[in-house]
């Protein structure tokens, strides 16, 4: 009997000790946090050109993950920083976040002009950087960066797709042999515009298409009338345009006033990705323009996605409208950042913690290199897989990302290409109702 009492006491003490231990463990787990520096342009011209929407998408996802209890016991502590639409500020902020705020990693970046120098700097500091947005190939191409990863589509792919789309539809839609279609490539002259335009040009050359003009301009140029005049002289059928805002609306306004005519216009993300702004500035003249971008997450068939993702898409949409109640057409920008951030928080980070035991750059890097998400496994629909060392010259670039061609009609966005994802048979050439119709 005495032995039984002793046993009872020992059991009680052990239980209490275990409970205390579990409580302590739990408390430690709750205290764990991953500090992430989130950098976008909250001010300056790029903010209204799409960066604030990207920032919103990332924030919605961070809040969502935290509301679900964090990741493997880690809460996400985001420190938001403003790059002010200036590369030098982006670099300074990145260094400040790493060296003074002691963040574990960086996430975000809208502008390629910022991404190119920041990526090199962060990699040199041996910190992990997860790019949600900027697309210039120059960020990763040939640089062999170890700690910089980009699930996002790269700019070359934007450029290739628009030309492939035209090549496939020139004869059937416009009655012109693809080789005889006159293409003009115009772009802002930073890494973003140059990267996409380079993709346009290389694909046109590969497919034997005729580029009658390729020209860059400064996104802050106060006048584009000479460019419009030159386009009028070259008489292109299709204009492939890559720009931010407000250069896009300045170009389109001056093109209309100077009587520039064409059969189609294809934009490539950034300013063209903010349909509301385009319609506000130019009214229905925007109708039937195309935009190449990762697909807007709200246009995807929920059945094509992994179970559970459709609900997250819906939640992101609700939070988006709550934050911006005047939204008429949901921009692809928000979904893009939300999806790319979601990949990190649900795939890379859990693996880094569970398999590699931490959130240091090396663990995150190893975890990212093992990412293998099939098609349909992300909110954006495409898969995610990064190349192994030496596999190609763009280390850290998602090899499974792909954009789509979308078309704007009466403030609605439709997927026009590739055929498998079409929600509309593309309207080509521009109908007579457009003031730009050739």
């Amino acid at each position: 009997m005495r032995e039984f009492r002793v046993f009872q006491r020992v059991t009680a003490i052990a239980t209490m000790a275990l409970a205390l231990f579990a409580f302590a463990i739990n408390a430690t787990a709750q205290d764990k946090k991953i500090k992430i520096g989130v950098i976008y342009d909250y001010t300056g011209p790029l903010a209204g050109g799409g960066s604030d929407l990207q920032a919103l998408g990332a924030k919605i996802m961070i809040d969502h993950i935290n509301s679900q209890g964090g990741v493997e016991g880690y809460k996400i502590k985001a420190i938001y920083a403003d790059a002010q639409s200036k590369p030098e500020v982006a670099i300074n902020e990145a260094v400040r976040l790493i060296e003074q705020e002691k963040v574990d990693m960086l996430l975000g970046f809208y502008s390629s002009a910022q991404c190119v120098p920041v990526a090199a700097k962060v990699d040199a500091l041996k910190k992990f950087m997860w790019i949600t947005t900027c697309i210039s190939p120059a960020v990763l191409k040939g640089r062999k960066l170890k700690y910089v990863f980009r699930p996002q589509v790269h700019g070359g792919q934007f450029g290739w797709l628009s030309v492939e789309f035209l090549h496939a539809n020139a004869k059937s839609k416009m009655g012109v042999e693809p080789g005889k279609l006159r293409l003009a490539i115009i772009h802002e002259d930073g890494p973003y515009g140059s990267g996409v335009a380079g993709g346009n040009a290389s694909k046109a050359k590969e497919l034997g298409m005729n580029v009658v003009l390729k020209e860059g301009y400064s996104a802050t140029a106060p006048d584009l009338s000479s460019l419009v005049t030159k386009l009028k002289r070259k008489r292109p059928d299709v204009i492939l345009h890559t720009g931010y805002n407000p250069d896009i609306s300045l170009f389109l306004r001056q093109a209309k006033e100077q009587g520039l005519k064409f059969k189609a216009l294809i934009g490539h993300g950034a300013g063209y990705g903010v349909a509301d702004k385009l319609y506000d500035a130019l009214g229905n003249d925007v109708d039937h323009f195309f935009n190449v971008d990762p697909v807007s997450i709200w246009l995807l068939d929920p059945k094509s996605l992994k179970p559970g993702l459709a609900a997250i898409t819906e939640k992101v949409g609700k939070e988006y409208v709550k934050a911006k109640p005047s939204t008429k057409t949901k921009s692809a920008h928000v979904g893009m950042a939300a999806s790319n951030a979601h990949v990190f928080f649900t795939d890379v980070l859990p693996r880094a913690i569970k398999k590699y035991g931490g959130i240091d750059a090396e663990s995150l890097r190893k975890a990212a290199l093992e990412t293998n998400i099939p098609v349909g496994g992300t909110l954006l629909g495409f898969g995610v897989k990064f190349p192994k060392t030496g596999e190609n010259d763009m280390m850290g670039q998602n090899t499974m990302a792909s954009p789509v061609v979308m078309q704007y009609i009466k403030r609605k966005v439709y997927v026009a290409w590739p055929k498998a994802l079409q929600t509309i048979d593309p309207v080509l050439p521009l109908p007579k109702s457009s003031p730009y119709t050739k």
């Binding site: 909250y42 001010t43 300056g44 011209p45 903010a47 209204g48 050109g49 604030d52 639409s85 002259d189 020209e215 860059g216 301009y217 400064s218 802050t220 140029a221 106060p222 006048d223 584009l224 009338s225 000479s226 460019l227 005049t229 030159k230 009028k232 002289r233 805002n245 407000p246 609306s249 300045l250 306004r253 001056q254 209309k256 006033e257 100077q258 009587g259 702004k277 506000d280 500035a281 009214g283």
Partner: protein
Amino acid sequence: MAEFSEALFSIFFIETLINGLLLGGVLALLSLGLNLIFGVVDVVWICYAEIIMLGMYTIFFLYKAGVPLPLAILGGIAVTTILGYLTHKLVISRVLDAAPINQLLATGGLLFFFQGLAMVVFGIEFRNLGVSLGSLAVSSDIYLSSTRLLSFAVSGVVVICLYFFLSRSYLGAAIRAISQDREIMTLMGVDTKRLYLLTSAIGGALAGLAAALLALQYDIHPFIGLSFGPITFVICVMGGLGNMVGGFLAAFVFAELITLGGYFADLEWGYVMAFVFFVVTMFIRPEGLFARKS
């Protein structure tokens, strides 16, 4: 070479020349007010383009609130006139005797203040009046922007009005006199403070006029001043700071260089040519292209 001669003998060369003139009209209007103020007060308002930006916002919000566009424009001009007045009264008058660098820093500070204020109050959204005046078809190939034609006409009218105001009116004569010798005017009993305030208000009104014409052509955002501020300043310097006719003519020279350079080479080359021309001008005639030799 074949490309060059084809471009030269194309109908579009004529269009480029005309577009240069029309752009010159816009830039001339921007430089008039800045030059007037510098000529009289002897302080460069680095923040001048930001006053224009605030005028654009005023016109936008009045118009969107249902005020007819002409009245909205008058409202914009009224606001920039008051801003011009207040800028002098509250800031410039306190640094009139300070070193030029301090004056530059003060107006530079105002520039950031106005930008920040616009961002906080109006947000970072791009706004647009959504008004188009269309274009004028000269031939089947050449169309001219009606807004640019209007800017050109307004610039011309304003410079003529200013000329008559400065040469024929009592106040104008006083303003000209003070711009020639500010110290002697004080000794002669002229109220220079009042004249400075009046000039600043007129400069502000001209900013409002420029705002009206820019709002018809450009998106409105807190940073639009960055696109025009530096160019306006360069034009004023090129024409001879304080020399209104010089600035007016320099605007057309600068605009033609931009458009012609952009037409014959890449667009960016137009700006390169214009700025190289500016640098060379500063070496050869540091007092400005159209400054009279004393």
